[in-house]
């Protein structure tokens, strides 16, 4: 399996330790080795991983882990804490110049998402801060880059400054500043052409623009799918332009996003925003802690909880949580949750946030649309009360009957039952690890009440 989360990775070691009374240094070493692999699989740069592991090891060899009853969970906890610390706090503020206009420069490699993010930032500035931005088309190299920004300007109904492709980007930026002042626009967002960090000539152009317009923010836009090279890119852009922050794009994908950690480690600049889609309102505040979970393959638990809380009956959820813990969760409960899940929005998005979901082949391959849910509902509704309580009684002939009753195929019935079993297994694992995180047994882990789990 290519992408295992940290929890999965630690399973083996944890199993081994379980019977033993004490954790040895060798055990810790094995665990940190798994941590290392998990981070590397998540695309965190190997040098960053090295430093990181050193820190974790120091803490882990100490009492914290070795004397704990749940060393595996303790390691996860230590890793998560260190990771969150490294990632820094929430810092999504955008500078405001003493004297308007405030100038933002967008820089980065080709195709990272600069132009799209320019539109998104402008949208955010108007919507949230009631500002009037001017978009500046300073990419004169990529074919139709200006058209692209102008189209975004039209969609947003916002002014775009452009001079065609023959003009010099430095001049364009300068004149745009004048235009903004004349028209009392209070933000200027300069969309520059993508370039390689090793392209001296083009990097020089950015330095010149910077010297001319004296920006309040220089945002480095980075594709969250970037691999080991992220450190080179970030380091180089930062050295040459002293960036003020980072925007991580395409986080709506299924990448672990270890680049985030690499970038933060080498630049020490805050990651401020996350691009979550192609549309102009799909820019979110960057949450370091969620990113830490994601990198570790523990799913974006917090986001999921937030979404879930908006739609779920608290009391009922608590009951379900109890059931999950005692593993008495039944297909009836599942059916009920389906209903709640339906109200929560695009399912494939939700699924991606569930820890371990990427491991559950069945889940991953299902086309999660509402139609699918009604199929699942139909299947469960065709079961007898007894079958719903105890699916183990469902033999081949019962499967056939259920399939006929629901109008679905036997293989769909099989798949559902298999998924349900896997889900139960996962629940148990999750609730256990959540307890471990809290450090105290029995204490109710707050918020662990999202449906579907």
């Amino acid at each position: 399996m290519a992408f295992e989360g940290l929890a999965d990775r630690l399973q083996n070691t944890i199993q081994k330790i379980k019977g033993k009374g004490k954790v040895t240094e060798q055990d810790v070493k094995e665990m940190t080795r798994e941590v290392r692999l998990a981070l590397l699989e998540a695309d965190v740069n190997f040098k960053v991983v090295k430093d990181f592991i050193k820190k974790v090891k120091e803490r882990a060899v100490g009492q914290e882990v070795m004397e704990s009853l749940t060393p595996g969970q303790q390691v996860i906890k230590v890793v998560k804490e260190e990771l969150t610390e490294l990632m820094g706090g929430d810092e999504s503020k955008i500078a405001v110049a003493d004297k308007p206009p405030t100038v933002i420069m967008m820089v980065g490699l080709q195709g990272a998402g600069k132009t799209t993010t320019t539109g998104k930032l402008a949208n955010l500035l108007r919507k949230k801060y009631n500002r009037k931005p001017l978009l500046v088309a300073a990419d004169v190299y990529r074919p139709a880059a200006i058209d692209q920004l102008e189209t975004l300007g039209k969609q947003l109904d916002m002014p775009v400054y452009s001079e065609g492709t023959d003009a010099n980007p430095v001049d364009i930026a300068n004149k745009a500043m004048e235009r903004a002042k004349e028209e009392h626009l209070d933000y200027v967002i300069i969309d520059t052409a993508g370039r390689l960090h090793v392209d001296n000539e083009l990097m020089d152009e950015l330095i010149q623009i910077k010297q001319n317009v004296n920006p309040d923010e220089v945002f480095l836009v980075v594709d969250s799918m970037t691999g080991q090279d992220a450190v080179n890119v970030a380091e180089s852009f930062n050295e040459q332009l002293d960036i003020s922050g980072v925007v991580l794009t395409k986080l709506d994908g299924d990448t672990r996003g270890g680049a985030a950690l690499s970038i933060k480690a080498v630049t020490e600049k805050p990651i401020k925003f996350a691009g979550m889609g192609e549309k102009l309102d799909e820019l979110e505040v960057f949450h370091p802690e969620r990113m830490a979970s994601r990198i570790l393959g523990m799913g974006d638990v917090l986001s999921l909880i937030e979404k879930a809380q908006e739609n779920v009956d608290e009391k009922r959820a608590k009951e379900l949580e109890e059931k999950m813990r005692s593993a008495s969760f039944t297909l009836d409960d599942f059916l009920e949750q389906m209903g709640q899940v339906k109200n929560m929005g695009p399912l494939d998005e939700l699924i991606d946030m569930i820890p371990g979901a990427n491991k559950m082949k069945g889940l991953k391959n299902v086309d999660f649309d509402d139609k699918q849910i009604s199929h699942v509902e139909a299947i469960i509704q065709s079961m007898t009360a007894k079958e719903r309580q105890d699916p183990s009684v469902i033999n081949a002939s019962r499967r056939k009957r259920i399939a006929r009753g629901s109008g679905r195929s036997v293989s769909e019935v099989n798949r559902l039952l298999k998924q349900f079993e896997e889900m139960k297994k996962m629940m148990k694992q999750m609730t256990n690890s959540q307890q471990g995180k809290k450090g105290k047994k029995g204490k109710k882990s707050k918020g662990f009440n999202f449906p579907f789990m």
Partner: protein, 332 residues
Amino acid sequence: MSFLKKLKDKFQATDNQEEVSDKYKDGLSKTRKSFSEKINDLVARYRKVDEDFFEDLEEVLIAADVGVTTVMELIEELEMEVKRQNIKDTNEVKQVISEKLVEIYQGDNDESEDSSLNMQQDDLTVILFVGVNGVGKTTTIGKLAHQLKSEGKEVLLTAGDTFRAGAIEQLNEWGKRVGVDVIKHNEGSDPAAVIYDGIQAAKSRNADVLLCDTAGRLQNKVNLMNELAKVKRVIEREVPNAPHEVLLVLDATTGQNALSQAKTFSEATDVSGIVLTKLDGTAKGGIVLAIRNELGTPVKLVGLGEKVTDLQTFDPHAFVYGLFADLLEEEE
């Protein structure tokens, strides 16, 4: 004859090797340096082939985005090989490393398997481009159109990205630049319908090649992947045996996610080859080794810049030559 020599000979037997060689060496110079320098460093630092040596080697490979699983497998095999041949000197192990890397790429496949595109002799060839956002699909189409046109082919482009702002204009601009026509609809229209029109136009004009652009999409978006499968079905229905190539465009900067891209796009559209773009940067694109290893998908083209001529047919020997040029020169 040593493996590296063999590699070099093979490489020099290819056509226009000079030009290709320069391109690769230029484009990959940073890649090449850091990679082979590191291996050389390693060899210099360790006189003995021991555990620490392998640990460091592991890092060199990880740094090239080869991917944890592939690297672990490789290291394991190397350790076995070193034991088997009773190699103690790190200099000797260098040889084995290169051999294994090439082996990973070539696998059991016949070495001479060529990475050229499946072009129809007398009939229309349809090539579909797929991939995530911003990897270089449209740019590659522009470059390939230029290449095919200069070979005397009648080329037509079709603007299947009806979603991203300015995407149609971008392809249109490439069409103008290269001097080929572009079949397009308005932004927001059905991509399958544009592709359908592109096919009809290509048929009625007796074009040789139709290059189909599509919108970038992240592979976890089920609906968008379904949309892409539909586009492919339209092509299948309208032209027998088409699409003749489904090229997945991958950005060399991408890390482990590229493997997931390759898997999911293959499931949806039966990818026949890979275009590895942006190799002119410092990223190494090592993930194609893992992809090749796991899925068998060959790299067919590489992008080495933004200019119309910055596209090369993938030549595994040249690629490996590029990666190991320093080692080769040293051997002499």
